[in-house]
């Protein structure tokens, strides 16, 4: 089996208020970082997965997302898989 390195990004659906992003945006503005117009903060989850091929690795990661890593009530996710452990 090969090792795959998967990156899952999980973020709040656009309709859900993201207070963390909002706070960072405000802080940046008042610290004089102009030009930053929108901030949203999500999670970035890096997994090392053993699988025979990329598809299998991705399927495993998606299963983990569906079951645990992401709550569809308020979140969406995206998966990116590449070869090699971290």
């Amino acid at each position: 089996m090969t090792k795959w390195r998967a990156t899952v990004r999980v973020w709040l659906k656009p309709s859900v208020f993201d207070p963390q992003g909002h706070a960072v945006l405000q802080a940046l503005a008042s610290l004089g970082h102009d030009g930053v117009e929108q901030v949203r903060i999500g999670k970035s989850i890096e997994l090392t997965v053993a699988a025979d091929n990329r598809d299998e690795a991705e399927a495993k990661v998606r299963r983990a997302c569906e079951e645990l890593l992401c709550n569809p009530v308020m979140e969406t996710y995206a998966v990116h898989v590449e070869e090699g452990a971290q």
């Binding site: 709040l12 208020f17 207070p19 963390q20 645990l68 009530v73 308020m74």
Partner: protein
């Protein structure tokens, strides 16, 4: 009637809940380890506050897989009452037993204070002993207490009077000031405030006690205790 308080490794209000049952009602109450799925002996089950599994990913995300949650599902089918307090509420939403989700407070801080609540529906098994529209005071203590649900769900909750308690002053950004949500079958309640922390004068409020007396009265009114029949079946089998 007989109560169970489910204990996850990171629960920390389990003993408080059991103590409150004892203080208020004197009913028998068991602390039940999360790996147990047979909850047939209980008329009411409390999912207590705390940080079930550390809650690093999302509050309640991991706890929903515990065998005890399967037991809770079965108990609900059977007609038992389920009360999810704080983390217990979070677990119930993650498990899909209650609609919506609890997100980080809009101010991003943990908040512990005595909160004023309005009883929106005094005809549930959990609120029988409150006067309709009563203002009560019960402490909150959470960081992830902002109730969120999509618009359709919110209007359904409104229609069916399932937003049982609302904050008088919203402390966390919850949609429609919702502090407590009743399940569709009317036998599951999830709430962020901690009724077990408001059951004695020295705690600064006794308003939480009536939630437990309500549940007790409801179960007693159901006639023959469910536990007795369940145990009866057990003995036969």
């Amino acid at each position: 009637m007989r109560w169970a308080v489910i204990v996850f490794p990171g629960s920390n209000c389990d003993e408080d809940a059991a103590l409150a049952i004892d203080r208020v009602l004197g009913d028998p109450v068991d602390l039940v380890w999360h790996d147990r799925s047979d909850l047939s002996a209980y008329d009411a089950i409390i999912l207590p506050g705390g940080f079930s599994y550390g809650d690093y990913l999302r509050s309640g995300a991991i706890a929903r897989f515990a065998p005890a949650i399967a037991g809770v599902r079965a108990a609900v089918q059977r007609g038992a009452l389920v009360l999810g307090i704080c983390n217990g509420f979070q677990v119930l939403t993650e498990a899909g037993l209650l609609p919506g989700a609890l997100l980080v407070n809009d101010h991003l801080q943990f908040r512990c204070e005595l909160a004023e609540l309005r009883v929106e529906n005094a005809e549930t098994p959990f609120t029988l002993d409150y006067a309709p529209g009563a203002r009560i005071r019960i402490p909150i203590a959470h960081r992830d207490g902002r109730y969120h649900a999509d618009a359709a769900t919110l209007s359904q909750l409104q229609r069916e009077r399932r937003a049982v308690l609302r904050y008088v002053q919203n402390p966390n950004g919850s949609a429609q000031d919702i502090a407590a949500v009743l399940g569709a079958n009317g036998r599951i309640l999830g709430l962020m405030p901690h009724p077990e922390r408001a059951v004695a004068e020295w705690m600064r409020s006794t308003d939480g006690a009536r939630m437990f007396t309500s549940m007790h009265r409801y179960v007693e009114q159901q006639g023959a205790s469910l536990a007795a029949s369940a145990e009866g079946v057990g003995r036969l089998g």
